[in-house]
Symmetry: C2
Subunit: 105 residues, 2 copies
DNA sequence: CAAAAAAATGCGCTCAAGCGCATATGCGCA
DNA sequence: TGCGCATATGCGCTTGAGCGCATTTTTTTG
């Protein structure tokens, strides 16, 4: 029961986050601003097709939206992402991003 | 840099959670109590070897600990799981578990 | 219209995740 | 010691994720 419900979304989100480059993209995009693929490529050291596909996965999971702007496509955090799902992303971002303690120590 | 640091752990955790049966096991185990494989098998409709391996993945990710008790192996939530990682699990569990709204409506 | 920049996509490859089946291992009990 | 229950693991298979490469699509500018 409820095969196409919330469970699916949670799994989609978790699977989307469970890849280093995608999580990196989410970290960048999670500032609320818009970022083109070219920027993400460069900052994450990924090739064009690779980055494009990864963003496709994030979009399919509902985590980001895209907007065409001239020759660029601007990605940004999906503002309509349900709270409970956003909470997962927030926690993941906070975990990797929130504290260099272990390394800094 | 920091290849074996927090990043790795976060990815391990996310990958571990990104599988329905494993997430189901986490939900059960997240009550703090101990649960044998046989119980998890039955409640999650999984075969023995399948469940055993899934628990192995969760253990490798640091999410659970196991304890031998007679012929059983009791799994439970790892109490030493770092806060930031526990927060990810909490968010995931809450997302799937916390509200039957869509289905109940 | 031609050319160039940015992004998406078709194609084929590789590799690992997940599975079932069978077997091994650990443990209690007769 | 031998049997039975609970769990782990070796093995081989299938499937899908992720990748690079080349090509196409979209849009701007000369």
């Amino acid at each position: 029961m409820r095969k196409g419900g919330i469970d699916m979304d949670v799994n989609l989100v978790l699977a989307a986050l469970a890849e280093p480059t995608r999580l990196g993209a989410i970290r960048i995009v999670w500032d609320g601003g818009e970022h083109c693929v070219c920027e993400l490529m460069e900052r994450l050291q990924a090739t064009q097709s690779r980055m494009s596909r990864h963003m496709g996965v994030l979009k399919a999971a509902g985590l980001v939206t895209d907007r065409r702007d001239a020759q660029w496509v601007r990605y940004r955090r999906n503002p309509d992402l349900p709270e409970e799902l956003a909470a997962i992303v927030d926690a993941a971002v906070a975990a990797v991003d929130g504290r260099p303690r272990k390394a800094a120590a």
